[in-house]
Point group: C2
């Protein structure tokens, strides 16, 4: 029997100088976060670290211990700056080995693309004891070792790898959310938000202000694992907004 | 006299459940990273943490000590889920106080907007000893305390705060970059990349593959504080690509 109150957590290590230089806008955090939510797993922390062995090892070892799952993105390609496999192996205290099935996949993929050279063979290297995560886009597989999942840096490839993992990880109840929007300054209704949140056990309300068309507004995102609590809380908040003459927008603005 | 070889570093803590849930695509990492690069400061690590006191305190205390500067984004608004000021004060072991100038700014800003209520006054709270960072968009200022800089979660407001700080932080030589693109699989030229990088002291080459229009390509981003090294390395790489019959695209694809 599953313990429904158990909260499953994950962390993500984004490996990449290109994110830290500002050159590339990361898209993996949002994509991994959203996918995890559907699996009933909560993303608790993300670290973005450079292509540096010590930095990756530190992040991996800290986060894999205190979370059910740890994902990494980036640094599993064929070039000299791709060191995530080596760093994860070092973090786990295991050797790097050639995975026979990964080698076979790459041989087949590159048969019509110039053959398997040394650089391409790098993508068959895994921490000892690892399993593969299928990747239909580019041949090179992702890697699962213990509770650590190594995914690609290219968001489209990571999307495929996540798709391959869907439904395979044990999770808890998915965290549900609903949004109430309002053309109101959040600072006008801070008391209402706090009191509404406190009235519903296990419910969080996040307040996300914005400025659009020269006007101040905010979306209030209500989260809970209980759909009935979620609905009751949203209803209460909409009532509260209406009482002070503000028009709530169900679903957000 | 400035030590030109001194590398100045910064870290960033992104505070926000909305990023970890996947609901909001973060834009502050890229914006802060790019801005820091122009100041001659390198972003070394980013952590995304939830709206949770212990998580923020841990990240702030780890990162402020090992970097010259620490930035935070998010959690400085007027609502119950805005706890970054309290967390940074706890991390630094100081009290939270009302900053008189911040109070005056908010009083003036809200004079024509319904007045300063308790929630709005929360935005005048700072860790004891802090200075303000001007924000022309919404009145509420950012905060500087020691080497910690608290910025807004809304990217447009953080952009204004960064603008106000431009040129005020001591940095080193800015890290320059140039890009060479090529319609080539990076796995075909991994040796060329590694050897070219090794031939130039203090130069890094990052390889960023992509798939577009059904074709495989990559951009090679060359980074150095020395413009002459940068140019020489790019030239060498372009020569190497041409030698194997691949057409390099200066500036990237």
């Amino acid at each position: 029997m599953t313990d429904e109150s158990r909260i499953w957590t994950a962390a993500l290590v984004v490996v990449g100088d290109e994110i830290l230089s500002g050159r590339t806008q990361d898209k993996n955090i949002a994509q991994v976060a959203t996918w995890l939510g559907v699996q009933g797993i909560r993303l608790r922390e993300v670290r973005v670290v450079p292509d540096d062995m010590a930095a990756i090892v530190e992040a991996v070892n800290t986060l894999r211990v205190r979370n059910d799952y740890l994902f990494t993105t980036g640094g599993i390609g064929p070039t000299h700056d791709d060191i995530t496999v080596d760093a994860v192996a070092e973090a786990l205290g295991v050797e790097v080995v050639i995975h026979p099935k990964a080698r076979a996949i790459l041989e087949s993929y590159y048969a019509s693309r110039g053959g398997l050279n040394d650089a391409r063979l790098r993508m068959a290297r895994v921490p000892d004891g690892a399993d593969l995560i299928e990747n239909r886009v580019s041949g090179a597989p992702g890697i699962r070792v213990g509770n650590v999942f190594l995914m690609a840096g290219v968001p489209g490839i990571t999307a495929q790898m996540l798709d391959g993992l869907t439904g395979q990880l044990e999770g808890g109840l998915p965290l549900l959310s609903t949004t109430v929007g309002c053309w109101v300054a959040e600072s006008e209704i801070a008391d209402l938000l706090r009191e509404t949140e406190q009235a519903f056990e296990g419910v969080q309300i996040g307040s996300y202000p914005f400025f659009r068309e020269g006007k101040t507004g905010a979306n209030f995102v209500i989260r809970s694992v209980s759909e009935s609590q979620l609905k009751a809380c949203a209803h209460k908040l909409e009532e509260g907004l209406a009482e002070i003459g503000r028009f709530p927008v169900t679903g957000g603005i």
